[in-house]
Point group: D3
Chain length 163, copies 6
Amino acid sequence: MNKEFTHLDEKGRAQMVDVSEKKVSKRTAIASGKVKMGKNTFRRLVDNNIPKGDVFNTARIAGILAAKKVGGLIPLCHPLPVEYVGIDFKLLEELPGVEITATASISAKTGVEMEAMTAVSIAALTIYDMCKGLEKGIEILEIKLLEKTGGKSGHWIRDEIET
Amino acid sequence: MNKEFTHLDEKGRAQMVDVSEKKVSKRTAIASGKVKMGKNTFRRLVDNNIPKGDVFNTARIAGILAAKKVGGLIPLCHPLPVEYVGIDFKLLEELPGVEITATASISAKTGVEMEAMTAVSIAALTIYDMCKGLEKGIEILEIKLLEKTGGKSGHWIRDEIET
Amino acid sequence: MNKEFTHLDEKGRAQMVDVSEKKVSKRTAIASGKVKMGKNTFRRLVDNNIPKGDVFNTARIAGILAAKKVGGLIPLCHPLPVEYVGIDFKLLEELPGVEITATASISAKTGVEMEAMTAVSIAALTIYDMCKGLEKGIEILEIKLLEKTGGKSGHWIRDEIET
Amino acid sequence: MNKEFTHLDEKGRAQMVDVSEKKVSKRTAIASGKVKMGKNTFRRLVDNNIPKGDVFNTARIAGILAAKKVGGLIPLCHPLPVEYVGIDFKLLEELPGVEITATASISAKTGVEMEAMTAVSIAALTIYDMCKGLEKGIEILEIKLLEKTGGKSGHWIRDEIET
Amino acid sequence: MNKEFTHLDEKGRAQMVDVSEKKVSKRTAIASGKVKMGKNTFRRLVDNNIPKGDVFNTARIAGILAAKKVGGLIPLCHPLPVEYVGIDFKLLEELPGVEITATASISAKTGVEMEAMTAVSIAALTIYDMCKGLEKGIEILEIKLLEKTGGKSGHWIRDEIET
Amino acid sequence: MNKEFTHLDEKGRAQMVDVSEKKVSKRTAIASGKVKMGKNTFRRLVDNNIPKGDVFNTARIAGILAAKKVGGLIPLCHPLPVEYVGIDFKLLEELPGVEITATASISAKTGVEMEAMTAVSIAALTIYDMCKGLEKGIEILEIKLLEKTGGKSGHWIRDEIET
């Protein structure tokens, strides 16, 4: 096995990977996560009387802004001027709760996995924040990468059995 | 039931809660989350040859810095000059993976739940970032509030059955 | 007349006002501004087929976030952990366009005029950004303080004739 | 008419435009705005006894810094590493007040209109901030794009009659 | 000797000091530093033909803005809404170069030493940046705390022999 | 001599250099600085009982994050998405204290000298912050550029006699 902790040098010190010699390629990443809440909160959230748009738009905006700040949030990430970030929400009756999916893309020397993962995380935290007056126990779960394309390692699709 | 979406006004528009008339009190919040990885990655992470300190210290610093930026990340949160943020990591053989616990405290007019939740989330994303060269499928799960004290709603402890 | 450029010292050098000896008081500020567009763009914006909510909610979130960043944007402003920021939009058929009103409040040693003014400005720029694909010539106008309360200078209400 | 709200998807949800497939071209944008004040304030500002340089240099620095932060301020804007931002001030006796002009340029996949517009807005707010001790009623007006070059839509010059 | 590394816990892990139980007091800190350059660069900088004001005002603004961002720059620092930051420059013929002095003050639970030290550092880097086209070898030296007041440890004045 | 203050225009006003017409080339910069402390503090820092890793890792992370923020800290710097930042520490018995070296690299139209210089400065301030509970008089000294490559001005190596 020749994979390594790319963010640790030979002496185990944290390091940023030097990508200055890598080639630019088109890269995308898709990540998802869930926000699980009680039935009452979910009912209120999906209820017609409630302006779901503002909750989800606020979470979307927060996630998009966070994707643009990844270089300032995740210490060893390269700052990347992302070229697209999109966030979608799906109501899950059976959870009950919300599923969040984020897609990021860029033409760059390194990938946008962290942009997609961070967008999901901050969107989830924003939903938590907006609903916590109703239910403090809401939980964020299953934040994970679904797919990535581009770069030397090429196309990767999550194999649910893998982990 | 008289709880409300405090972040939506009567017309359902997103709003920041006006806390200017609230009283200052000492507040704390504790949140936790998990990072679940494959056995190989976990083995490498706990292996004596690997400088775990730098992975965890980097994640701790990222989480602390993020807690200080909550007002800029979560749109309707009040900017709070936090007075303490602490982050601990515990290796979980059975997951396998890492459990992250964050504690935040402040004397203020509103609580620090989001500071604790955000610190956990960004620390988890940082661990993901540092290990993703080994395993892209690593998953972040169970980010949740464990306890809060202070403020009008007083002491709240998570009841695991609740959600 | 004994008013002074409080942000210039006796030698005319830019300075931050020292408020460390001032007393904390409840302060509020209200500012407004307008975004003027062509009839076609306005028609599209108010049209039932168009999800106005997302335009205005996005502008509201941008304005609220900007109010929280005033200390980092306006060089000599004190960083203030604002306790409330609210932003409202009103469609003006006769302009045609949108009127933006922002209210900020805090208990602090100095006022929140800049928070209200900045919230209006960034909300207006966000509307411009979201509509500029339709009409690049959209104009932002009449950004001004309407009212402030609190502090040594007390209650001030805009006298339209004054300027 | 085939122009669209590029920042809203087919369901009217806020979105960032995906520019990853667009071509890089040299782009520039010029925007302007005005700060209108009372005669007394204007007299003090232009008076030889007053160090205008520091007021205008402070506003220039604020505007340049803001242009570099557009991706973090305007939610759906692409983060762009601007390659030039210049800001000029002109005293207008007849207003009386100050005219601000900002120019931004970059070689990128998308334009720098928002960088120029934001630079003008924050420079104007900084002048307001530095003069508000003399006159709270100072007004910011006529923030607008004057010209842009580059990109698919090519050269655009403001036609004053248009709006 | 009972002084400790306050930023390391008993196991040597980095930590933020919990100040939530400390008392608010008025605190000030003064720091200084020097920028040493060649005679030619110094001559150009002090020459009447050169607008020194803009170099020094730009450095002053950069230093003040940096003092407001200390919580985001220095990982274990408490975010403090500083109430005053002032920066002065003195030309030193004998160095030759510039001496920078920064003063910060606040009423808070913890001190503003880092705000004063950071203001000096960023002001010095800004002077370096503005002069590096003339001389890349310019050096920043002797950044140090001169004095602090307030807090449990009280008044401290630098004893030049101490270090 | 035809070198100029590139950050001042012909009227001496602060300006950002327009690099939009420059060519992209691979650029690197190396800078260094020192933190000088008393013998007792140095002894504690190097003592086996003390987890030096966390002090130095925290300083390294702070320096790397700061290098990514240079465009927001140094007013006239171009925002550059750095492709590598590395920071090393060396214990100097004879000072006594710590020597910090930072390397930055990028393929861009302008150099990364400020990224390397800023990384050193913020890493030094972080060490000061973590040790100031033991010794407030610790001093930061000799922050300077050691070497740069790339760009029109080509390879530059510090000539210690020069300044």
